[in-house]
């Protein structure tokens, strides 16, 4: 906001009224409040997690043990699950989102663009618990009944890639969670891509068409290079959402604190584990502290992702 003010100096005013000063102070206070809140949350999570960090040291990050009976906790399994589901979700969502944005900006008839765009934005407004229920009652049975048994029977014994497709067909698991997450992040990525594709100056595209390029060639050689940075930024935004998603993942991931090599194997994510274990954690216990420490770790991961996305998006946001 301050950048915007600096970039567009206002015409000099005849005199400043007290109202201006009050408004400026209020606006500044609002801005500071956000920073203060964010800082306070980080501090609280860190202080809450101190006990766990002290008890387990850096080993907390790499230990795959989560044993509430022995009071031994490690963050490796939920960190692994969080990162793998989010990355898999992006691998599924990015091509689809690109297809949607490509169709909407280059191919679709003008009258059709608005309803599809609205539908995508509506998809982003569906509460995550609804995705969770849809995943649990619709996607999981399909995976358990048809997809997983077939794949396990046919690919499970293959050399090299067989380990990715083994284990009992629960229907839940890493891949199912990634599928649901993909559906959830597609609207964000598709909307960002559509918006940045539209920022490409028409004269560039028209010049390319004038040289005899096909639509795909224009996309590949003009639009994507021009918007590359912003597209990556949009993907990072989707990644940020996938990392922090809780309820929908809880329903379909299988909630197991083990690392399995199989895509169909159950796992856990940070947000899901915290949501599940929090109600049964005693105040002042090592378990509660470990959950808060996990929250802090998730905060750090999300912060890194969002910082990268802001960095990549900045040049586009300025224009």
């Amino acid at each position: 906001m301050q950048q915007a003010v600096a970039a567009n100096p206002r015409p000099s005013r005849a005199r400043s009224s007290p109202g201006d000063a009050i408004f400026a102070a209020l606006a500044k206070a609002s801005g500071l409040l956000v920073l203060l809140l964010l800082g306070a949350i980080i501090v609280v999570l860190f202080l809450g997690g101190m006990k766990a960090f002290r008890a387990f040291g850096p080993g907390f990050l790499i230990s795959d043990d989560w044993d509430p009976v022995q009071e031994v906790y490690g963050a490796a399994v939920p960190i692994f699950g969080t990162v793998v589901t989010a990355v898999l979700a992006l691998a599924i969502a990015v091509p689809l989102a690109f297809g949607i944005a490509f169709y909407l900006t280059e191919l679709a008839p003008t009258w059709f663009r608005r309803p599809v765009s609205t539908a995508i934005e509506l998809l982003a407004a569906v509460p995550s618990i609804i995705y969770g229920m849809w995943g649990f009652f619709v996607v999981v049975p399909i995976m358990a009944e048809y997809v997983q048994p077939t794949v396990i029977d046919n690919l499970g014994d293959l050399p090299l890639i067989g380990f990715l497709f083994q284990g009992p067909p629960f229907g839940t698991g890493i891949l199912t969670a990634a599928l649901i997450l993909a559906v959830m992040v597609i609207p964000f990525i598709a909307a960002t891509m559509r918006d940045v594709f539209e920022t490409v100056p028409a004269v560039f595209k028209e010049s390319a068409y004038g040289l005899g390029c096909t639509t795909w060639e224009v996309m590949r050689s003009i639009v994507i290079p021009y918007t590359r940075v912003s597209v990556v930024g949009g993907i990072m935004l989707g990644l940020g959402r996938a990392l922090g998603e809780t309820m929908a993942v809880t329903f379909v991931i299988g909630n197991t604190n083990r690392i399995t090599s199989s895509l169909f194997g159950p796992g856990n994510t940070i947000a899901s584990l915290v949501a599940l274990e929090f109600p049964e954690s005693q105040a002042g216990s090592l378990k509660l502290s470990s959950l808060l420490a996990l929250g802090f770790i998730l905060f750090v991961i999300s912060f890194i992702v969002l910082a990268i996305s802001r960095m990549l998006l900045r040049p586009r946001l300025k224009t």
């Binding site: 044993d67 509430p68 009976v69 009992p168 229907g171 599940l276 105040a283």
Partner: protein, 346 residues
């Protein structure tokens, strides 16, 4: 009386402000999800009979214990008995309300309800990942006459911390030394095999969806949803089906007289008809209440429930307490719940 209550309620300024209106006859409790249906039912009925309005939040046993230790509610509720040292330091009296049972459900093609026979050792082996196929020789041996398919066993457990898990894991610990050694019992444990699902409904839906699935749920849940349950072998060596009769047989064998803080162990009780996975659910009440009138109302509420609530508890598939235990609880109230100058409240 009423004025005194109102004054006291206003004294709890924080609570009065957050709740907006200070209800003279309202009592608040939080904790275990397992007895929540019967508490809700009792709350409805007791409101008409006694004017006491129960506001119960089923936030989980751990949360209930935290809240009563911080005195943010009038009573806490928990499925696992509270640690005696914590009861002591938190100045809490613990008493039981109802008993309930955990049953095992399966999804094996061709197997009908209560047809399959399992023992605690077999269950522990299945959940440890030692028995992985339904046609394992050990399972076939225990089930003559039942055709078991060559199908992977998919063990399902509660992913959320839960009193049900505590009871089930306590049972496996009681019957299998290897389980006790490697896993143990708590509201959530380190499961060696299988996948987790959220809540009773999550477990039953996952078992339903997964061919070869096996899981554990509270009996009320299995009964209302007509799930495929199994027979278990009890301590006396008999296979029993999960029925109200078997639950009552187990409850009758509980050694209440020698149980400290009423924390009776109903797991794997002797008796030919006893169901092996049975437990009690508890209330924790401050011995030094900040608001005597509210605590008095809590006791009045549960006294009413002890006298009039057995039928609705049974209808919801819980097992009511024996009369002798109820009498013991009443005298414990009288002896332990005191005003600051040491007088009994009830």
């Amino acid at each position: 009386m009423k004025i005194a209550v109102t004054v006291l309620a206003l004294g709890l300024a924080g609570f009065a402000v957050t709740s907006g209106v200070a209800q003279a006859q309202q009592i608040t409790g939080a904790g275990a999800t397992f007895p929540a249906p019967v508490y809700t039912k009792w709350g409805e009925q007791a409101k008409a009979a006694t004017g006491i309005e129960l506001n119960y939040q089923a936030i989980g046993s751990g949360g209930g214990q935290n809240q009563i230790l911080q005195r943010t509610v009038d009573f806490g509720a928990s499925d696992a008995p509270m640690d005696p040292a914590k009861l002591e330091s938190g100045k809490l009296l613990q008493f039981p309300t109802v008993m309930g049972s955990v049953v095992v459900i399966v999804n094996v093609p061709g197997v009908q309800t209560n047809q399959l026979k399992l023992t605690g050792e077999l269950l522990a082996d299945i959940y440890e990942g030692k028995i992985t196929k339904w046609n394992d020789p050990k399972l076939v041996e225990a089930n003559h006459g039942v055709t078991l398919p060559n199908l992977a066993i998919a063990p399902v457990y509660r992913a959320d911390g839960s009193g049900t898990t505590f009871v089930y894991a306590s049972y496996l610990s009681a019957v299998s030394p290897s389980w006790k050694d490697k896993v143990g019992a708590a509201t959530s444990v380190k499961w060696p095999a299988g996948a987790g699902a959220k809540g009773n409904d999550g477990v039953s839906a996952t078992v339903h969806n997964t061919r070869g699935g096996i899981g554990y749920v509270e009996y009320a849940y299995a009964s209302q949803n007509h799930l495929v349950t199994v027979q278990l072998r009890n301590k006396a060596g008999f296979f029993v089906s999960p029925t109200m009769e078997a639950f009552q047989a187990a409850a009758a064998n509980g050694d209440w007289a020698n149980a400290k803080d009423f924390a009776v162990n109903l797991i794997d009780q002797p008796g030919a008809k006893s169901w092996p996975i049975e437990s009690t659910t508890f209330i924790e009440l401050p011995k030094n209440p900040t608001d005597a009138a509210r605590s008095a109302n809590v006791m009045k509420f549960f006294d009413w429930a002890y006298k009039n609530g057995d039928a609705s508890a049974t209808a919801l598939e819980y097992v009511p307490l024996p009369e002798s235990v109820k009498a013991a609880v009443r005298s414990a109230w009288h002896a332990n719940i005191l005003t600051p100058d040491g007088k009994p409240i009830d």
